[in-house]
């Protein structure tokens, strides 16, 4: 199976995702240029973090106009796995593949640090190696990760168990002190109803290598590999 990491002008975490999949997990992985229009031979798509198009206009807004995004949308519609990390999550929201929107962090500052997130749903192709309720330590690095959705959308996300991660304390407790950016209902990541498209603000690719001192992020990539292997069988 082959992973495709989409490269937009301004993508910064493309190499980090590539490196984890290639070097740590020994997977096939290719960069997909934003001006391409086809995803032939790609089994899972990663929209990496960064500042696509400088994050001008709104974060993630201009990337949705890139030629490749038509192919990404139909890939998602056919049930292909799409993981949006940080700027990738913002792009998925702007495209409407996931509900809601991002606004600036309540502190108005960019924040880079480790946070704790709780697995809210382990029955997704991205979290099947985790337990629901498990707490991961994982880095965030963003200025606009304050997730917003109206009450009806939040109710529907909850009803369909689409909230995959919430910010918590190291003990898994919810609270404003452990919510780094002001997100509605402490949401750190959500999936679509079909469970094949996920967006998350934290960076699993930054904590998937023993040399960097934290391997919690490996669980997500390992889950994806398991899910893809199961599909291929």
């Amino acid at each position: 199976m082959t992973f495709g990491v989409v490269v937009f002008p301004g993508s910064n975490c493309d190499h980090d995702c590539y490196d984890v999949l290639k070097r740590v997990f020994a997977q096939q992985v290719e960069f997909v240029w934003h001006k391409d229009t086809l995803l032939d031979g790609i089994d899972a798509v990663i929209l990496p973090g960064g500042f696509s198009y400088g994050d001008y206009l709104r974060t993630g807004a201009i990337a949705q106009c890139s030629p490749i995004m038509g192919a990404v949308a139909s890939f998602a519609e056919r049930g292909g796995l799409v993981l949006g990390i940080c700027n990738g999550f913002q792009i998925l929201l702007e495209m409407g593949l996931l509900p809601g929107a991002m606004v600036r962090n309540t502190s108005l500052h960019f924040i880079c640090r480790d946070v704790h997130i709780r697995i809210e749903n382990s029955e997704t192709p991205f979290t099947n190696r985790c337990e629901t309720g498990q707490v991961l330590t994982i880095p965030i690095a963003h200025g606009e990760g304050n997730y917003f959705a109206d009450d009806a959308t939040l109710a529907s996300l909850n009803a369909h168990r689409q909230v995959v991660f919430r910010y918590t304390s190291s003990q898994g407790e919810l609270g404003s002190k452990s919510n780094p950016n002001g997100s509605c209902e402490h949401i750190a990541g959500i999936c679509n109803r079909q469970r094949n498209v996920i967006g998350m603000m934290p960076h699993p690719e930054r904590c998937a290598d023993a040399t960097l001192g934290n391997r919690d992020g490996q669980l997500l990539f390992a889950s994806m590999i398991d899910a893809l292997t199961a599909r291929c069988v």
Binding site: P9, G10, S11, N12, C13, H15, D16, D19, V20, R23, K35, G49, G50, F51, Y53, G54, D55, Y56, H109, F110, I111, C112, R113, D114, P139, A141, G143, H203, E205, R206, D209, T211, L212, G213
Partner: protein
């Protein structure tokens, strides 16, 4: 008019070089190239005293950045540069474009930038006007560095009232290149094409370089229009395109358009190769209509590069620029006559020998003399400093003081993890980055204590280098090379030049002793407002190699039961300390002395101990002294604070108690070891001649420092209370 900063003597010299009267454009080009900022006319003879060669050096000063060999066919390319004046006028854009400029210096060398560090000097953070500058500078570095995707992994911030009207913003950048990909900024090959790539040229920042060669007065605020605006998105595209061009070997030469814009880039490339360049300003991509040749040649618009390319490669070069959505245009060619010739279509609008603008810039010999106040500064009578009654409250006050408190409020605004190389994050003695696909890592630190440099410029220069090396060694790294950014007042005043001369001498002697060459650097003079100069502020950015990466060492205490050692002797020294400054409100005294031999032995000891796996933590004992070093070792642990019990034997406290706890004696470090390794560590230290003293154990909820007979207890504080004081925001 532009020639305002040229002296009559320089004007005469220009007429002599041209053999005629210069026109307005030529005068503007000379004026900017002969400014202190571009020509180093005052500093050059002094800089020649610095050692620049060594077995690891691949590129000495003279190119956009220096380079050292780090093994595996790779080079570390690095430089530090100041952007002080623009950051005072417009903090956000000034700092942002400072980051942009230093990044371009690195990737024009063919190296991919992998780390930024910033060395900042501000006025008191409690003052509203300073807050505006501090917030703007930090936000500017954050916005630019984060967007470009290069991690800001460390830095040093010092607050002092002296920087109120002259904040210093120095940014260090390091990149990695294959040896065979290292580029030069030379316009070699007659007939080759000169290609412009990047952002379009606008009217911004005309005469930024001359502005940086002038002191401030109250009028300067109205200079706002000359500050450039940065576009990190274009920079990112420019970086990726440049690195792709280098990788595909399509370039003969490449140069950033920084200070002095197109003028600087073209004359430097031509004179570097001994060739000439002919340019047509009409071909330059422009942002505004009706720009004159003067404006095009002297604009300091950001995110632009000049390439020299063989004619048969030009098509591929333009294709790569199109791929990255960058403007690109052939604007001229390399000639054999040594002339820089500027044309507007068919008309020559300026013409001079390229090296007349660069190598032949006149140097300026100025007077140097110690300031009259120097004796008063050093004359601190220690006996007038009362001994502290309550060391707990002194420690808490120091921990919460701007210079010693935790800087997470700054570095958490920077993405310090992108590119997934950051092994040791900001908040330890140095940042450590692994080099992927090798077993190695690099440690990087920036240092410089301006108060020491004020009190004794020579000693301040020595300590700046020694402390940087000590920080690297504490992280398990062997120093390879350094870059210096030298920030001073107006060199036309003899006392400023005296400070400059002595600081350089100090840096030079220390570099020679440690065998760490200076491979790049930057001088920023005229950091003064209304006649008040900043303290002499050299910033040393030093790079060291760790092999293997697993040897990377952090400063914090790891676990209960580990034994705490102090390496090095402690003297009765309080002059120039943060303790005297913060608690007794004096910036006076003789700064700590430093013996290079003693310092060198400490480095040997630390490297051998880390190499032998004998220590679990190592922390430089610096500003704030032993007590602050202990507190930092307790508080900076990522899993949360941990306490320690320290006991001091009587032979150790025959000095003033404040010197013992808060004095800043050099050449010391705190290390911890598992009990099984204690005797081996002690004998290692003895073998290399470093005094070693077992002073306690890690563990508990308190940091306690008491005498070994238990009669005296100086410090006993809950680590959570210390943590709250230390985390004071700003």
């Amino acid at each position: 008019m532009a020639q305002g900063t040229l002296t009559a003597r320089e004007g005469y010299r220009i007429r002599e070089l041209l053999g005629r009267e210069p026109n307005e454009l030529e005068l503007g080009m000379f004026s900017v190239m002969w400014s202190e900022h571009c020509s180093y006319k005052t500093s050059k003879p002094y800089l020649k005293r610095l050692p620049t060669r060594g077995p690891h050096v691949l590129q000495e000063p003279g190119e956009n950045a220096g380079a050292v060999d780090i093994g595996n066919g790779l080079a570390a390319v690095f430089k530090m540069e100041s952007h002080n004046h623009p950051s005072f006028i417009e903090p956000f854009q000034g700092a942002a474009t400072g980051v942009g400029g230093i990044l371009r210096d690195i990737f024009t060398m063919g190296a991919r930038p992998i780390a930024l560090l910033d060395s900042l000097r501000f006025g008191s953070p409690d003052d509203k006007k300073n807050q505006h500058i501090i917030d703007g500078v930090v936000a500017g570095i954050s916005a630019y560095g984060n967007c470009v995707g290069v991690p800001t992994v460390g830095g040093a911030t010092i607050f002092n009232e002296i920087y109120e009207r002259n904040p210093l913003v120095n940014v260090f950048c390091l990149g990695i290149a294959r040896h065979s990909h290292l580029m030069r900024s030379q316009a070699a090959g007659v007939g080759n094409q000169v290609i412009y790539i990047g952002a379009k040229t606008g009217r911004d920042g005309i005469h930024g370089a001359t502005m940086a060669s002038d002191s401030f007065d109250d009028e300067s605020i109205s200079q706002r229009p000359t500050v450039q605006v940065g576009d990190p998105f274009i920079e990112k595209l420019l970086m990726e395109a440049s690195l792709e061009l280098v990788k595909r070997r399509l370039l003969v030469g490449i140069q950033d358009m920084g200070a002095a814009g197109l003028t600087g880039a073209s004359c430097e490339m031509a004179s570097g190769a001994g060739t000439g360049i002919e340019l047509d300003v009409e071909m330059v991509p422009r942002r505004e209509r009706g720009m004159t040749p003067y404006e095009v040649m002297l604009s300091e618009s950001q995110e632009r590069m000049l390439l020299v390319v063989k004619p048969d490669c030009a098509g591929d070069v333009l294709d790569i620029c199109t791929k990255w959505d960058l403007d690109a245009a052939v604007i001229g060619k390399v000639t054999d006559d040594g002339m820089l010739r500027i044309c507007k279509a068919d008309t020559v609008v300026a013409e001079m020998r390229a090296c007349a603008l660069t190598d032949e810039a006149p140097s300026e010999k100025r007077k140097s003399a110690p300031p009259q106040f120097q004796d008063t500064l050093q004359g601190l009578n220690d006996e007038l400093i009362p001994l502290p009654h309550d060391c707990n409250s002194v420690l808490l006050e120091l921990l919460g003081s701007p210079n010693l408190s935790n800087k997470a409020w700054i570095y958490e605004q920077y993405d310090f993890m992108v590119r997934t190389n950051t092994v040791i994050r900001p908040g330890s003695d140095s940042a450590v980055l692994r080099i992927k696909d090798t077993s190695t890592a690099l440690a990087i630190t920036v240092d410089g204590n301006p108060l020491y440099c004020l009190l004794n410029p020579y000693v301040g220069g020595v300590i700046a280098v020694a402390e940087a090396a000590r920080n690297l060694v504490c992280s398990g790294a062997k120093p390879l090379g350094l870059t210096d950014a030298l920030n001073f007042g107006n060199p036309e005043r003899p006392e400023i030049l005296w400070q400059f001369e002595l600081v350089i001498e100090g840096i030079s002697d220390a570099c020679k002793f440690f065998d760490v060459p200076v491979v790049s650097g930057n001088v920023s003079f005229y950091n003064e407002t209304n006649g008040i100069a900043v303290y002499p502020s050299p910033m040393i950015g030093m790079v060291g190699l760790i092999d293997p990466v697993e040897r990377a060492m952090s400063q914090w205490f790891k676990d209960d039961g580990h034994v705490v050692f102090l390496l090095g002797e402690t003297h009765d020294e309080i002059g120039g300390s943060e303790y005297v400054r913060v608690i007794h409100h004096r910036e006076q005294g003789v700064p700590p002395r430093l013996s290079l031999e003693t310092e060198g032995a400490l480095h040997t000891c630390l490297l051998l101990a880390i190499e032998g796996g004998l220590v679990c933590s190592a922390h430089d004992c610096a500003e704030g002294g032993l007590a602050i070093a202990l507190a930092e070792s307790c508080l900076s642990r990522p899993q949360g604070p941990i306490g320690a019990s320290i006991t001091i034997t009587p032979d150790f406290f025959d000095i003033r108690v404040d010197a013992l706890l808060f004095g800043e004696t050099q050449s010391r470090a705190i290390v911890t070891a598992e009990s099984a390794n204690v005797s081996e560590l002690e004998s290692l230290a003895r073998d290399v001649g470093v005094p070693i003293r077992k002073i306690g154990t890690v563990g508990g909820q308190h940091l306690r420092v008491k005498s070994s007979d238990l009669r005296l207890s100086w410090i006993d504080i809950d680590v959570d209370v210390m943590y709250d004081a230390w985390m004071r925001k700003k």
